[in-house]
Symmetry: C2
Subunit: 121 residues, 2 copies
């Protein structure tokens, strides 16, 4: 069974929509890095049972993203904001040299907004 | 039956996760502004049947948002970006007056990123 990083990201994003049992098994597999056998022992089911739960989770997570595309949009927003943050820092460097205090205050204000957006949960 | 704007926004956001029949009835009600009786006629079911489908949709949409909170985050991002866009425009006004062409180019670049983020689908 192949463990891919995209499923792990989708699990963080849409995991709450999975049923408790499916999510429990899948989080142990993706987040806690336990083996199928270890999860099977913990849950008192067969190794194949665990594999089925995880496959079901992966299918559901992929479907959520195909239908909503919200994770893709989230990643694009984060990338755009990171680019913006870098531009703001560069702009500030240029301005610092010429002592334009009011413009610097404006840039600081924008940087704050960008940081808030980048760190929101 | 009360029609609220939040349900309408959540329908646009999470509608794809509803079953076809539930979504069909709910979109006619919220997006096309048809009455329960008109939808009942269209679907060949009772008025109460339509009401039940829409209630189910509203419950599901609220649950999606309670669990994921992605619409709230989306709205916050849009608000932050709008604020940022306004700050960039103000910054540009200040800079224009002093003819700082390299800084203006930087601000233009950031404005482009912000606009892309605001308009993404």
């Amino acid at each position: 069974m192949e463990k891919n990083i995209e499923n792990s990201l989708l699990l963080d994003f849409y995991g709450e929509l999975l049923t408790d049992k499916v999510r429990y098994a899948t989080e142990m597999y993706y987040n806690d890095d336990l083996s199928l056998s270890e999860i099977a022992d913990d849950m008192g089911i067969t190794r194949q049972g665990v594999r089925d739960l995880i496959k079901r989770a992966e299918g559901n997570l992929q479907t959520f993203e195909e239908k909503l595309g919200l994770h893709k949009r989230f990643v694009e927003t984060q990338e755009g904001l990171s680019k913006l943050k870098k531009s703001l820092e560069e702009t500030k460097c240029v301005l610092d040299k010429e002592d334009k205090s009011s413009v610097i205050a404006k840039v600081d204000e924008m940087t704050l907004v960008v940081n808030e957006l980048l760190n929101q949960e």
